[in-house]
Chain length 298, copies 2
């Protein structure tokens, strides 16, 4: 229905997330070309062979000059590195819409500055244990949330364009402030990782090697402790204040439960456990949106 | 090969675990009868119809009198209730071997007393999110660990009989002291549950409703917070000291990681995360023993 108006989309970096977005746009009959830039040819050639993009270039200015929408597909630190150069090139050409997909927004918005209102910070809550363009699949965003963190100065048309990109890909859009995004994600993703790390450390340092007697509970509670150490170091460093705040709240809850157990307050313990069961079940649909995607991580 | 010597096994209570053990013994061509007692007929009738047992009775003395080996299939509290009566009946008949499968051993051994050396405390590290005899399957123990906690006074022949039961069912045997078992399980199973409860409480109490933005990490880290509140209240109460000790160690690790993040000590953070990844991967085979059983919990 928007066929006459579909903008040319350029992906800077082509991996699991950006490749899946490209595939989802193709699935949605996006009528304009999908192009890509990257520092090396192999993943771009693979994306071309898979039919995810129409063409690519290793020259960044060429790709920026051709694009109507630029999607930066990189982790937080790499996005922070790349963004100033992209915005400079964008200012010097036709002022395309620019958006990113990094999981922390504070450092990104800081790196972007205020001189380019057509930059729209974004974060799709989707991923996989696998990585790389070969793992991309067009259903990755179906039913998933994409959080955008526009400011009052963000260009409305640019915002609308980014929203249309994601809804075409099957996602639904939420708007949040940068601070709220980073605080909410600290609680929903970053601190759960810190908890898995702390639990795994406790087990590793325990005299009785309790991990050798683990079952399904331990399998789930330590799985994400095997995540990429470098990536999680970056997240711990770039979202530090929000993570510390949520870790303090976590420590307080843990200490509260410890007190109830020490006092052998069975009724209060059961009430707390029953509330947790209810809360978890209320969120089953969000946490398991599609049985199609059993291996999703965030 | 032991066909001439297979003892008659009686299951007291017929659910997922005991039904699976019965099925595993049938699969292993156990040549003697498998019988069962329970307070109500339906699950016993179901077990008979499924071919898991050969006959049953609602009269406990009858079943105890007939059995060579008695397997109590009940949670900790119920096992504590039933055990003294079973041992009295056993003393009054042919002194059959008695074993249990409860996940905490301290309260069980205390309830058993010291007057029946043919009692062998046990705990299979296997389970499922499903429950009841209808969910039983003979592969449940394949590759899994069964921890036995005999004392110096435990009868050796009784111990050997219980070991043969479990190895026939596909499990491998570990011996531990009662205190070590309860401390190791506090760390490997009970405290991971307490951590999932504390994390879920933190998220439920958070002003930004972060659970609404959860992905795969949060799915795994909160799954067991939906466990049965009554059962986990019992575990928190019956293994209290060991759980408090492991919770303190967990709190210390969490606080240590918080300090590293507050100090922005990137190298120490990365070292800690890398060690956790290595430890988790070393235990992948134990935590995921068979792809056949994707839904196991402990």
């Amino acid at each position: 229905m928007y066929a006459d108006h579909d903008p040319i989309v350029a992906f800077l970096g082509l991996g699991l997330i950006s490749g899946s977005l490209a595939g989802a746009l193709k699935r949605g009959n996006w009528s304009a070309d999908l192009i890509a830039w990257g520092p090396r040819a192999p993943s771009l050639e693979r994306g071309l062979a898979l039919g995810l993009i129409d063409r690519f270039s290793l020259d960044l200015p060429t790709v920026v000059a051709e694009a109507d929408v630029i999607v930066i597909g990189a982790p937080p630190e790499a996005t922070v590195q790349l963004l100033p150069e992209v915005l400079d090139l964008a200012l010097a050409s036709g002022e395309p819409v620019v958006t990113d997909m990094a999981s922390i927004k504070g450092v990104i918005v800081e790196a972007a500055g205020t001189s380019y209102p057509r930059f729209v910070p974004g974060h799709p809550i989707a991923g996989s244990e696998n990585s790389g363009i070969g793992a991309a699949y067009p259903e990755l965003f179906d039913g998933r949330e994409v959080i955008l963190t526009p400011s009052g100065a963000t260009d409305t048309l640019a915002l609308n364009t980014v929203e249309r990109l994601w809804t075409t890909a099957g996602a639904h859009i939420t708007h949040m402030s940068v601070a709220d995004h980073d605080a909410a994600l600290a609680a929903s993703s970053h601190v759960p990782h810190m908890v898995a790390y702390a639990l795994t450390s406790m087990l590793a340092n325990h005299a009785l090697s309790p991990m050798q007697h683990g079952g399904g509970a331990l399998r789930d509670m330590t799985r994400i402790a095997a995540s990429d150490p470098l990536m999680w170091r970056d997240i711990a460093m770039t979202n530090r204040d929000a993570i510390l705040t949520a870790m303090d709240a976590m420590a307080q809850e843990h200490d509260h439960l410890r007190t109830l157990i020490a006092e052998a307050d069975g009724d209060a313990i059961e009430t707390l456990f029953a509330r947790c069961r209810a809360v978890r079940r209320q969120h089953d649909d969000i946490l398991n949106p599609l049985t199609l995607e059993p291996e999703q991580t965030d």
